[in-house]
């Protein structure tokens, strides 16, 4: 067995250089990808904040709806509730305002205003 056979590398020099270049590119890509994904986790923070805001709005809405009790119901279908509760209700779900503006079903035209009466008076 000759020495030259023993000293022959398993991977030729060119292929070893090529693997080195690939490793260099792979490291560069990995660093950039890691930096992006780490930065992108801030999007998760934003998403959490959006979820918290959504939960807060739902909570406000349910509390405000709690003010619409039978005892506060007027004869024409509107409610009289405190102004701050009305504001909270509208802020939580503006659609409620439109819903409450719908004409009454007694055949006549619904009065355009007021939707809420000042319950503080």
């Amino acid at each position: 067995m000759s020495d030259s056979n023993n000293s022959r590398p398993a991977i030729s020099g060119q292929v070893a250089s090529w693997l080195g270049v690939i490793a260099f590119v792979a490291v560069a890509i990995a660093v950039i990808a890691y930096a992006y994904l780490a930065f992108r986790s801030h999007d998760g923070v934003d998403a959490d904040r959006r979820v918290a805001q959504k939960a807060l709005r739902a909570d406000l809405e349910s509390k405000a709806k709690g003010k619409l009790t039978d005892s506060g119901r007027n004869a024409d279908g509107t409610y009289h509730i405190p102004v701050d509760a009305a504001v909270a209700l509208i802020a939580a779900k503006p659609e409620i305002l439109a819903k409450l503006r719908q004409p009454s079903t007694n055949g006549g035209e619904a009065p355009p205003a007021p939707v809420f009466t000042n319950g503080n008076k």
Partner: protein, 457 residues
């Protein structure tokens, strides 16, 4: 002296032989893709003129065919050809004999098969909304791996060069080689795999697009211009000391020009300004490359002599196109002028000037130089060479004019159908030119090698 000369020639011949297989594969693939893209370009141009043409089948709708044509041209024709070009130039400059040619061949095969699969998916309607990233996202990993196999060998050649001397072409090849995998992976990641939100997508896409065109395609083509101008004219590059500045400023500013293509878009104004400043700063590498190229060719009737040299003639057209295209980009990146053209076909004309008139013409010129050295044969027909040159040059010029005309049409100044006609004629001219080139190239590649004619071109 003669012995040394003979030894040098023998060495060059061995180098050519060592890269012959992968370079042939890349060139053959690129020519086939060029023919596909040419036919598609003709159909697309025809559909602009006659919208009902092939409109009954969803496969042949304008949206899919246009995407198909663009991807076949960039990834099929230009990228394959640049694999060959970069490998051959770098091997020659670095005196590199490729021993594991099966690796780039394998990479080339995977690249082309993946591209074929991706384009079939596009034809079936599975496409994304980002230009040059339209193919399904599962295609990208395979293409990046194929690129690593096929196109990193110039970097290996550079790393193993026997001397410490570095020529400017080598810088551009190395830069372009590393740009492609990085921008592709980052863009794929940020647009398709883990997409960013909102306007960031447009920013990332503009960054990817500009880098692909200017750095991967443009950088590789610039390396070829430096190589062939010096080689074929037998002159040293004029003001060579400026080339370093040109290289670094080109790679620095070109990669920042993306936001300049988004002027008027709902992105922060400061980002748009960064793009505009980068686009204006591109004047530095443009002036330097112009000084390098024309300073080398212009003295002692060099340009007239270049006209009689097939390679230099194509390279010269490519060089002029590069300068014009880059200057147009600078001028029309200013806000007031950009507002006039931003939604017109003018931008298409600019892109055509960069991708075809600049990059493709340089590739053609390089092919006319490289193929005889690989095959040991002459080009079969000089008439086909002339036909190719004039059809490509005139077709390209007409395409740019057609783009401007389209822009005017979009502003309601002319009838749209009328303005589409020059584009159709240009596409037909380009098809004729490409067919002539393919006929000549395949005639040469399939011809028997004539030992006596070797190196007598």
């Amino acid at each position: 002296m003669s012995q040394e000369h003979s030894s040098s020639r023998s060495s060059v011949s061995r180098i050519d032989a060592s890269v012959s297989l992968p370079v042939r594969l890349f060139i053959i693939s690129s020519i086939l893709w060029l023919l596909v893209a040419s036919v598609l370009s003709l159909i697309v141009a025809l559909k602009l003129q006659v919208p009902s043409f092939l409109s009954d089948c969803a496969w042949f709708t304008y949206g899919r065919l246009e995407v198909l044509q663009r991807n076949a041209f960039i990834y099929g024709w230009a990228s394959n050809a640049l694999f060959a070009l970069n490998l051959w130039i770098m091997s020659s400059l670095a005196r590199f004999e490729l021993k594991s040619s099966w690796l780039p061949v394998l990479g080339g095969l995977v690249w082309n098969l993946t591209l074929t699969y991706g384009l079939i998916q596009v034809l079936l309607g599975q496409l994304n909304g980002f230009a040059l990233l339209e193919m399904p996202k599962e295609v990208a990993p395979a293409m990046v791996v194929a690129f690593l196999f096929a196109a990193l060998w110039p970097a290996v050649a550079f790393a193993r060069r026997p001397t410490g001397n570095v020529f400017v072409s080598q810088w551009y090849i190395i830069g372009a080689t590393f740009v492609f995998p990085v921008i592709t992976v980052v863009a794929q990641l940020m647009l398709l795999w883990c997409p960013t939100l909102g306007v960031m997508q447009a920013l990332v896409h503009s960054w990817f697009y500009q880098n692909l065109i200017l750095l991967w395609l443009g950088g590789s083509a610039l390396s070829a211009i430096y190589y062939f101008i010096a080689k074929e004219s037998g002159r040293t590059i004029s003001a060579y000391y400026l080339a370093t500045v040109g290289f670094w400023t080109y790679f620095l500013f070109a990669s920042w020009t993306g936001p300049a293509t988004l002027l008027g878009a709902p992105i922060p104004v400061w980002l748009q300004s960064v793009g505009v400043v980068a686009a204006l700063m591109m004047l530095v590498p443009i002036v330097i490359t112009a000084v390098n190229f024309f300073g080398t060719l212009a003295p002692r009737s060099g340009i007239a002599q270049s006209w009689n040299n097939t390679t230099l003639r194509f390279v010269l057209v490519g060089t002029v196109s590069f300068i014009v295209s880059a200057l147009l980009s600078v001028v029309f990146s200013t806000r007031s002028l950009n507002a006039l053209v931003r939604f017109t076909e003018f931008t298409q004309a600019q892109e055509h000037l960069a991708v075809y008139s600049f990059v493709s013409m340089v590739i053609f010129g390089a092919a006319y130089y490289i193929l005889p050295r690989l095959t040991g044969s002459f080009w079969p027909s000089a008439k086909l060479v002339h036909l190719h040159f004039w059809a490509s040059t005139l077709g390209s010029l007409l395409f740019v004019v057609a783009g401007l005309n389209h822009g005017w049409a979009a502003h309601g100044r002319t009838d749209f159908a009328v303005s589409a006609l020059p584009g159709l004629v240009a596409a037909a001219l380009l098809f004729v030119g490409h067919f002539a080139f393919a006929l000549n190239a395949f005639g040469m590649l399939t011809a028997e090698e004539a030992p006596s004619s070797r190196r007598s071109y």
